[in-house]
């Protein structure tokens, strides 16, 4: 049932995440409006489908939550483990956005990590705990130091503890800047920036050769045990196009190699990442 070609149990599973660009936020500026028109926002409307009316369509170029929603659905179509929202700088409040994105997806994990901008890990952790409850176990973020009174474990026990590399907090998943190094007991996902890696222009991955080259390149460190997966950073200027291409062209190749799931097996982020249910601390 696993892997399309049944290469046996020796194939290591790759974990994939996508990091959303940090938009200028509610209100934004002219640049974000132009980007939305040509890219992400113009092609997606909240709620999707025929249910939405003309007013929604008219406003979609000025308002860009639809761009986030579209990226989230694309990542879920690609069977990604989770979506990561940066917390630094101006822009919408990340946890509120993740709660909204939980409404447009069904399985995709939803993650925010504490940044250097002063979003206190404790406050973020409380927000992530609420998100975990409301999304039935799809949240990840800073480890909760002390469970709040009245806290009851949800479907995944506790949000998956995820932090950036270099921190000292306990973590089940560590997100590395560019090159990560696997370590026992922790999943390490390295960032993969489409622009920096030369996949900035639209259509790069449309070439069969380049899609295969990318699949091979991504898979090698995972199979050698150097890494557990990647956080992809699509080119924001290309709208959702870069992630679309990746999901359409690279994901099937990774599935053929047996290193990427062909369906979600569970509902919680913990299940996607193959992490154990946390044991009580008392």
């Amino acid at each position: 049932v696993t892997g399309a070609v049944g290469e046996g149990g020796g194939v290591r599973q790759m974990h994939l995440a996508v990091q959303l660009p940090r938009y200028p936020g509610p209100g934004g500026g002219a640049g974000d409006r132009a980007g939305a028109r040509e890219g992400i926002g113009a092609r997606e409307r909240i709620g999707g489908g025929a249910r939405t009316g003309g007013a929604r369509e008219r406003r979609s170029s000025a308002l860009d939550f639809g761009g986030y929603a579209r990226l989230a659905r694309t990542a879920e179509r690609g069977l990604f483990d989770f979506l990561l929202l940066p917390t630094g700088g101006p822009g919408p409040e990340p946890v509120t956005v993740l709660n909204a994105l939980a409404g447009v997806t069904e399985r995709l994990g939803l993650v925010a990590t504490a940044g250097p901008d002063g979003y206190e890990p404790d406050r973020l952790a409380r927000g992530i705990a609420a998100l975990d409850r409301l999304s039935a176990g799809r949240a990840g973020g800073p480890a909760v130091a002390v469970p709040t009174p009245g806290w009851e474990p949800g479907p995944q026990g506790a949000p998956v503890a995820i932090r950036e590399e270099g921190g000292a907090a306990p973590a089940e998943v560590v997100l590395a800047a560019a090159r990560g190094l696997a370590r026992p007991g922790v999943k390490v996902l390295a960032r993969f920036d489409f622009t920096r890696e030369g996949f900035a222009d639209r259509g790069d991955l449309a070439e069969a050769d380049s899609a295969l080259a990318l699949a091979v390149r991504l898979d090698a460190p995972v199979q050698s045990g150097a890494l557990d997966g990647y956080v992809l950073l699509p080119d924001p200027a290309a709208g959702g196009r870069g992630l679309d291409d990746f999901v359409e062209r690279v994901v099937p190749l990774l599935q053929q190699r047996g290193s990427l799931r062909t369906a979600y097996r569970g509902f919680t982020l913990r299940e996607h990442l193959g992490l154990p249910f946390p044991v009580g601390k008392g």
């Binding site: 500026g29 909240i46 509120t96 409404g103």
Partner: protein
């Protein structure tokens, strides 16, 4: 299709209503009835439950739903409504949040983000900070000050927070699509009325009869004019707990279902959906209220009966809209978007 269904008869205004003499030259406001509902509950599966109730309210073309603000209520009202927003299309989403929980900038950003993910459908029902002296508190059994003084102090504190949040929306952070999300204040008590007059778009009033509602509305309009705002910009919603589990009383000659105090400072209506429609039409016609905020006692049962019974009947009589002609909460309420909001100015650049 008409943009909005007006009342078939010219709406009578109460004799002392200042709106009879509202600014000449400004367009004449149609007295549209507005309806909103609380969707509080204690569900096992919160997300599905709240989405279900919000969609039900949206089918009834209600202006907005509120969540939170009651003992034992959903603790993450803003998070839940952010979840509800993309699962709905038109209905306003208004969390009840205390005007003290955290720095105003966080409150402003959270609400701006709710406005963003809902594409301009967010509001904020302001709750005053907890009364720390009540019930003994840390200072002993007897409160040090009389209750009305304490209420005034709490609302003075809330007023500062609301002002700071509004300031945040206007310039300090990301601009919400509506410019300012809609602000609602429970103005039943005198202490809250100054804040309602200064900042609110909507005042909730827990009145047991239309005379009381009308008195408070008149007072609110006076205060609103006093601070230099157009009193027509403050909509007064009668707030009723509704128990629609019983039968109708209406057909009995002379029978009239009246709301009664529910023992927690609220006002409860018990009767049938048709009785409730009669009461709403009567209060609205008299000019005592612009709309109603209902709190279903048993949400699944009572909101369903309210939407399919009461609201449907009011729609049938041309007193309430049958669809949302606009897309934003401000549009539903007939309130302008503040100057500078993205929906008010097309192509307006933001620094």
């Amino acid at each position: 299709m008409p943009a909005e269904t007006p009342s078939p008869v010219p709406p009578p205004l109460s004799a002392d209503s200042p709106s009879a003499a509202s600014a000449p030259g400004s367009y004449r406001r149609t007295r549209t009835l507005h309806l909103a509902a609380a969707i509080d509950g204690q569900p096992k599966e919160p997300a599905g439950y709240y989405v279900e109730l919000a969609r039900l309210a949206e089918r009834g073309a209600l202006d907005f739903v509120t969540l939170g603000g009651r003992a034992g209520a959903e603790p993450d009202a803003l998070a839940v409504l952010a979840r509800v927003a993309p699962a709905t299309d038109r209905i306003g989403v208004v969390p009840v949040l205390t005007a003290a929980s955290g720095p105003p900038a966080e409150l402003a950003l959270g609400l701006a983000t709710l406005d963003w993910v809902s594409q301009g459908r967010a509001g904020w029902a302001v709750a005053a900070p907890e009364d720390e002296e009540a019930g003994g508190g840390a200072l002993g059994a007897a409160a040090l000050r009389p209750a009305d003084e304490r209420a005034e102090a709490r609302w003075r504190a809330a007023d500062d927070v609301v002002a700071a949040v509004a300031l945040g929306w206007d310039g300090g952070g990301p601009r919400p699509p509506q410019g300012r999300p809609v602000i609602a204040v429970d103005a039943t008590g005198p202490a809250a009325r100054a804040t309602a007059a200064r900042h609110a778009d909507i005042a909730f009033v827990r009145a047991a009869d239309q005379e009381q509602a009308d008195r408070i509305r008149t007072e609110l309009r006076r205060l609103t004019a006093q601070v230099g705002r157009d009193p027509d910009r403050l909509l007064v919603f009668g707030e009723l707990s509704i128990d629609l589990g019983g039968g109708e009383l209406g057909p009995e000659p002379g029978a009239e279902t009246v709301p009664v105090a529910d023992g927690t400072g609220g006002v409860r209506f018990s009767g049938g959906p048709v009785d409730l429609a009669e009461l709403m039409a009567r209060w609205h016609r008299s000019g005592a209220v612009d709309g109603f905020h209902v709190r279903p006692v048993e949400p699944r049962r009572d909101l369903e009966r309210f939407v399919n019974g009461t609201a449907a009947l009011l729609q049938h009589r041309g007193l309430f809209r049958s669809f949302h002609p606009g897309a934003t909460l401000r549009e539903h309420l007939g309130l302008r978007h503040p100057a500078g909001s993205r929906l008010a100015v097309t192509g307006g650049a933001v620094s």
